[in-house]
């Protein structure tokens, strides 16, 4: 990912409900909200478990592994964000925990992208106050 410094970086807006996720990302740890009462993993984070309505929840480290569920490559800056140089790819990843995340890729060319491709999460420190998750190819069968 190459950024265009003429535009501001887009930063997540953190609040009481999602702060734990972004604090995890900052220290290069992917964590997901899990309900302490019924065990449901939830992403995006929210104040209450949508299954059992418990507000007791915890941040659980993810294995960081998943498969590409869908992807796009932005070729035209008007449909993306002009602060990111085109072309760039965005992927939906289905994680082993059963939740989906949106991320960008590291070291995967647009034409290489395939649905079902095994990937693992890595992190990129973009600015002092901004770290984002990326995904890179994962060797199948690796522990």
């Amino acid at each position: 990912m190459e950024y265009n410094p003429a535009f501001p970086l887009l930063r997540p807006y953190t609040d009481f409900d999602n702060r734990g996720f972004w604090e995890g990302i900052k220290r290069h740890a992917l964590v997901f909200q899990r309900c302490k009462h019924c065990g449901l993993f939830v992403h995006r984070p929210r104040p209450m478990c949508p299954r059992c309505l418990s507000t007791e929840k915890e941040w659980v480290p993810s294995e960081g592994k998943g498969k590409i569920y869908s992807y796009v490559t932005v070729h035209y800056e008007k449909t993306g964000y002009p602060g990111i140089k085109v072309p760039y790819s965005v992927v939906v990843v289905e994680m082993l925990e059963g939740v989906r995340i949106i991320a960008n890729v590291e070291g995967i060319e647009p034409e290489e992208l395939r649905i079902g491709m095994p990937v693992e999460v890595t992190f990129e420190d973009i600015a002092e106050d901004l770290t984002l998750p990326r995904v890179k190819k994962r060797e199948v069968g690796s522990p």
Binding site: L9, L10, R11, P12, Y13, T14, D15, N18, H43, R44, P50, Y69, S70, Y71, V72, T73, V74, H75, Y76, K78, T79, G80, Y81, I84, Y88, V90, V92, R100, I101, I102, A103, N104, P110, I115, L130, L132
Partner: protein, 391 residues
Amino acid sequence: MDMISNKTAIVGIGISEFSKDSGKTELRMASEVIREALDDAGLVPPDIDGIVVHTDDASDEIAAVRTMGMGNLTFFGQCRWDGAPCGMVMRAAIGVAAGMANYVLVYRAVNGSSKRRMGTPSRDIAQMSTSALLQWTFHAPFGQISAAGAVAMITSRYLYEYGIDPDKFGWIPVVCRGHGSKNPRGMYYGQPIAIEDYRRSPMFTDPLRLLDCHENSDAAAALIITTLERAKDLRQKPVRILAVAQSEVAETEEKNCFYSPRLSELPEIVRVGERLFAMSGLAPRHIRSIQLDDSYAPLVPMQLEALGFCAPGEGAAFCEGGDRIRMGGEIPLNTSGGSLGEGYLYGLNHIIEAVRLVRGTSPVQAGPLSPVLVTTGALGPASGLIVGDGL
């Protein structure tokens, strides 16, 4: 439901021309289409006692009331999200059916081209709703900020699951532009395209081509809804609301459903279709024309499947060659051009065209067509309706 189906009607319509720069305020555009709708119905401003407007519009009902001398409101409110238009008609129909108002006005006026670029945040972050903030927080930092990007993500999965050749989506803009080329008030009057134009069209957000996507426009439209009983005394043949529905499902987002169990289907449109057919007692084979959300071409085959017009995965093949969905074909699609061939007004123009088809006054038609099914907002909170000349 019994209070609305076949007991309420659309009795007045007004629609502006579609342009890249209207040179007018949104309130001016709204006032002009409201005046046209009143005149069409044979009503005067004090008759209007209900108004439904959209949260995103500058031309709110207070401004319209002041501008047009509509001083008798007893029923008013706002609807939200891009998929609102048929839901706005639903709100109006509920108002008249419940006796809370006699004549309810629905309108939108949007300088979507000249005032601001759609797809960019229109509000300060601090004023965003929680769901908008969630999208901002979990999608925008990755450059996933446009509706086109969201549709591309869904389309990518759809192509994968059914092994579809993306070239086939090209027949949707070809048909819509063909219809729109005959619509003097649209943005593409006299400008049809051929399938070769589509194939040469640049890749925008892979797998979407430029011609898969609508362009923004400046436009406005208004509708007046009343009970069928009152409609009989007005100027036009009443266009009956046979069914109207909204749907919002778990894990939805405003313009995408990256988190829905199956990204390749449109769960809200599935539900809207089920409700429309249950309420009207009709089935897809009874529908004579469809006015579907075509803000992005691949949404059309996906909706044909979601609504039961064809089997899962067969929507693109259904549109191939365009003959089935052209005027005169099996089930004509977006006959005034829709978002791809007339201009972008979130589908309010699709509802207006459905009314014209039932009346027999569409710019492209030979004789009346009824019933007509409309969807607005295929992504996220969605709504739909069926109108006709009676059952």
